[in-house]
Subunit: 333 residues, 2 copies
């Protein structure tokens, strides 16, 4: 089969490799129908994450059809169409028993990092019963692909943590796909949602999809106060500082971005502001709810997919995702 293989910093190949086989009785094999990219896929490539070994197949987002199941798989069978969740989990370890699937001692965020991932024609998914969700053949591929990561990230970190009754206005910091997925999920609450980012075309698209106003982060002083501030950028780009500046008394900051260093927390101002800060990670425990939202047309996550490529254009697709005007980029095999 062909797969997108990480070969070390600045080097990636779409090339022939061995097809995966069932190893454990809880495994399933999925023939990939399509996959998408995540910024996390690029961190090893960009030299920002040296935990991924060369020759690993990349990717943790994918949709496909099951071609083999291990002997103890109960709920799935060959022929089922599934969306793969980006968190593999055993459901029986000490962390899984507490629904902390991301900390699963037998799984976690391992696809495309510790084991071969979804950017391939076939992928082996451990603990298949827990780690994928069945979807109908009628679901649009672009909709389905958003189940792997983008939608549960927003849904679990924002919708599941916030009481929208007490919120009048919302700021999303970061004009990327995570923020846009969150916008789609919060539109139903009819709140005023502003977006702060650096890309005018993307900010326009947020406005088109329901945002009240897009602000260019280089041209604002962040002086509007918000009951809920959702930080989706990470690293040390000053966005956590902006969030602290914008959060209202009694307000909430949710930080979903990936940070590689500490930040300054202004407790000298915030200790008496009665605020809440939530840090992220998704446990991917809400796929059934999200499938229902897509099926009932409450949300249309395919709006997140800016461009689709075919199986002869995988490397172009990989490059395209780095373009500043892209939200998600899809490859259909």
């Amino acid at each position: 089969m062909k797969a997108l293989i990480f070969k070390g910093k600045d080097k990636i190949e779409w090339t022939e490799t061995m097809e995966p086989v069932i190893i454990e009785p809880t495994d399933i094999i999925v023939k990939i129908e399509g996959f998408t990219f995540s910024h996390a896929d690029y961190r090893p490539y960009l030299g920002q994450d040296d935990s991924v070994a060369p020759d690993t197949i990349m990717g943790h987002e994918g949709v496909g059809v099951i071609t083999a199941v291990g002997g103890s798989v109960i709920n799935l069978q060959v022929g089922d169409r599934v969306a793969i969740g980006c968190i593999i989990h055993c459901n029986i370890c000490q962390w899984c028993l507490r629904k902390a699937f991301a900390k699963c001692v037998n799984g976690g965020f391992i696809l495309g990092t510790k084991i071969n991932g979804t950017h391939a024609e076939f992928v082996r998914i451990p603990y298949g019963d827990n780690s994928v969700i069945k979807i109908s053949s009628a679901m649009n591929l672009a909709d389905a692909l958003m189940l792997s990561d983008v939608l549960p990230t927003g849904y679990e970190n924002v919708i599941k943590k916030v009481d929208f009754q007490n919120i009048n206005n919302i700021a999303i910091i970061g004009d990327g796909p995570i923020g846009l997925g969150i916008l789609l999920l919060i539109n139903k609450y009819n709140k005023e949602v502003d977006v702060y980012g650096h890309h005018s075309k993307k900010l326009d698209y947020f406005e088109k999809l329901g945002a009240h106003k897009g602000y260019n982060s280089t041209k604002t002083s962040f002086d509007i106060k918000y009951d809920l501030v959702i930080e989706c950028v990470g690293n040390d780009r000053g966005t956590f500082e902006q969030a602290q500046q914008m959060v209202n008394f009694n307000g909430t900051i949710i930080t979903i971005g990936v940070f590689n260093k500490s930040v300054v927390f202004n407790l000298q101002q915030l200790w008496y502001q009665n605020i809440t800060v939530h840090t992220g990670i998704l446990n991917v425990y809400t796929l059934d709810e999200l499938v229902a939202k897509i099926e009932t047309k409450e949300i249309s996550p395919m709006q997140l997919v800016t461009k689709a490529f075919n199986k002869n254009q995988v490397l172009q697709a990989y490059e395209a995702f780095m373009d500043k005007d892209m939200f998600k980029v899809m490859v259909k095999l």
Copy 2:
């Protein structure tokens, strides 16, 4: 009347001054039966807070009997015994309408800071209807005094913010009265509560009142993980760092301490730990619930009062509260 008057850094006097009178129709006058001290009372005295003008009567904790009511006071009358909440609030400003009483544009934390406080024989309380709670003559004075600040601080910052179902163990950092008040409030949930502090006698008292174990903060490496960490120290004594070290995946940090500078927030470790941080301030919206807890003997907050003094010993009482083995110190007039 006599009152404890702040005269500037390192200077305080228990001396004769004018009795307060009704100024606004929403005012009440309370003849003080007893008062307690708070560490906040000492910050101007110690030169740590220059926002309090000399000649201000100190104090925001007190219990007494109403001797006069303004013309538009509805729910109170002369002769009512009341506990004074430390947050004055008008109930009609933009913040009060959102239950953010501490931010009340006509009140807030003003007793003993912006207006004369409770450390006197009489005190004027603005917005009396909203800012005190009626208590029975049967309630023990030491119990009642804990309603002003200590109990609502713990109740609103911890009990009202946390779902104890998902919590197995709890750490309280700080062996002072706020932490002890929280212990009394969380005892009913039957969780393992450890306390970290610097005073062996106080740590012993925590254990006597229900804590699982007291740890001397100078002799521990803070390597136990807790689902809930309650930081009650503040400033830059390293306690927020300790809290971050101790918080479990999916866990919560509540910081109640007063901070006068920023802290380091280790998002590089915590962004994927799914944690929650709540910062404090109390809005004193729960006095009715707390009175019920005292009346039904669910809690016995008088256990917080280490020593009582009489009206001839006010300055000794003020000094005594600084002793390292004291929780709360009460003056009975």
